[in-house]
């Protein structure tokens, strides 16, 4: 079966409107992934409808905040907490914010530095 599997860069200004559009069109959020960049993070939000999957790619600076999508997709809270706790991504207003206490880890933001 041929199914879409795309990664689409998106600006912060267009991000939340697009997430809301996905919700209105019946897409489900399937994964959220943070990856480290030299001066910030790449955040990938994947949405699926049927067998098609589209990933929105936000690039943010280290100290830049990103809005939580839990207001739109409440089920995203675990993955947003994980990105915040392991990488130090500043996610604003998570519904169900664990404040870096999701995992019992020995040191803060262990995935922030390479190696």
């Amino acid at each position: 079966m041929e199914a879409a599997n795309t990664i689409e860069p998106i600006t912060m200004a267009r991000f939340m409107p697009q997430v809301i559009r996905f919700k209105m069109d019946g897409w489900r959020v399937v994964q959220i992934c943070a990856a480290r960049l030299p001066d910030g993070y790449e955040l990938s939000y994947s949405f699926a409808k049927g067998y098609d999957m589209r990933t929105l790619r936000l690039t943010v600076a280290t100290e830049e905040s990103v809005p939580s999508i839990t207001q739109v997709y409440p089920g995203a809270f675990l993955q947003e907490n994980e990105a915040a706790e392991l990488f130090g991504v500043k996610v604003e207003s998570i519904q169900g914010d664990y404040h870096d206490k999701l995992y019992r880890i020995a040191r803060p933001t262990p995935f922030k530095e390479k190696g």
Partner: protein
């Protein structure tokens, strides 16, 4: 006015040996809210990818979970094969399919046993796990391992099956299918199991979509999504339709898993009949550069694998979104309104794997 109280549940519970803790907010004996707490077994396996050779990391990916071990290795290898444009030989794709379906039978039978145990139906628990032993024996016969058997590699598989072995597998599946029948009847037709499962933890299709449910949990709410239809391994050459139920309750989730065991036997028979001759792996040269998201259907539901590679032998980022990560939020939704006594059973019906989730 009902009295409100908070009851701690887990991380060690007689019915649920998974390390999840819930603060259950009760009004009398009815759950009105549930606040989860995980993180007891976080191992940081994703980060190890930065310091391990990308080919060696297959063995770590397989150790994310004891039940979904083969699938995790498969998902990781498929992602790298996409990035490196590796064409996996057809025979290897069929062998992967056979082991993947055996893993599904293993996982679902294990879950059925746990469900029976949670209901206090000990003989049914023993029958389910007795049947599961045959699958573990087949893993042993085909790979030399019973739980984690490390047969995936980037470019194919490490072990082959000869004609006699394939015939033995099909014969065992036929035998198991007959033995599954009375077990399935006990789960689906027995008055007691029905009264414990019917109407418990109803998840509507809308809730399932909004909260991100996957796998048997999603299909039990009537949504026909099964990542095997994407056609990875040899699934694009086999007859396969997602198994669904419409009730969205615990009984429906049990029914879907039981029917999926029969479906897996059928897929194994199809794959054994159609498997082509040829090599089982191709050599992989060079280092990966690029990124890719792969989806596969693990026994517990859709899993997503992401790799971002930089052209060296060390990968920048490996990400695994497990089925349980997606199924915890809808589970919390389902807990609201249920009786305290039903909480362990209801949690079990999502087939949680917290070790997978924490990686």
């Amino acid at each position: 006015m009902a009295k409100r109280s908070i009851v701690p549940f887990g991380p060690q519970h007689p019915v649920l040996p998974e390390p999840i803790h819930l603060d259950l907010v009760l009004e009398d004996e009815v759950v009105v809210d549930a606040v989860p707490s995980i993180g007891f077994v976080h191992r940081g396996l994703e980060k190890l990818v930065e310091t391990k050779d990308f080919k060696e990391y297959v063995y770590i990916a397989e150790r994310v979970c004891g039940i979904c071990s083969f699938g995790h290795g498969l998902g990781y290898c498929q992602t790298l094969e996409q990035i490196m444009n590796v064409e996996v030989p057809p025979r290897a794709r069929y062998l992967r399919t056979i082991w993947m379906e055996m893993s599904r039978v293993h996982s679902h039978l294990l879950w059925l046993g746990l469900l029976a145990d949670a209901m206090g139906f000990e003989s049914l628990f023993m029958e389910s796990w007795k049947l599961r032993e045959k699958i573990l024996d087949m893993f042993d016969a085909t790979t030399g391992g019973r739980v984690i058997f490390s047969v995936n590699c980037i470019g194919g598989v490490l072990k082959d099956m000869d004609e006699t072995m394939l015939k033995n597998i099909v014969d065992t599946c036929n035998e198991m299918e007959k033995e599954l029948k009375p077990i399935a009847d006990a789960f689906l037709r027995d008055y007691t199991t029905g009264s414990r499962l019917r109407g418990l933890g109803v998840l509507t299709p809308e809730q399932a979509t909004l909260m991100g449910a996957v796998g048997p949990m999603l299909r039990a709410s009537g949504i026909a999504y099964d990542a095997r239809k994407l056609g990875y391994a040899a699934y694009d050459e086999l007859d396969l339709e997602p198994i669904t139920s419409n009730d969205g309750d615990s009984y429906a989730r049990c029914e879907v898993r039981i029917r999926e065991i029969s479906q897996s036997f059928d897929l194994i028979r199809q794959a054994a009949a159609r498997i082509p001759a040829g090599p089982i792996a191709v050599p992989v040269k060079g280092f990966p550069k690029g990124e890719y998201f792969t989806r596969i259907e693990q026994p517990r539901g859709e899993a997503i694998y992401y790799v971002k590679a930089n052209g060296t032998k060390f990968i920048d980022r490996f990400r695994l979104r497990t089925p349980t990560t997606s199924n915890i939020p809808p589970m919390l939704n389902m807990l609201k309104g249920c009786q305290l006594a039903d909480v362990p059973l209801l949690i079990l019906t999502i087939d949680p794997c917290i070790s997978c989730t924490e990686r």
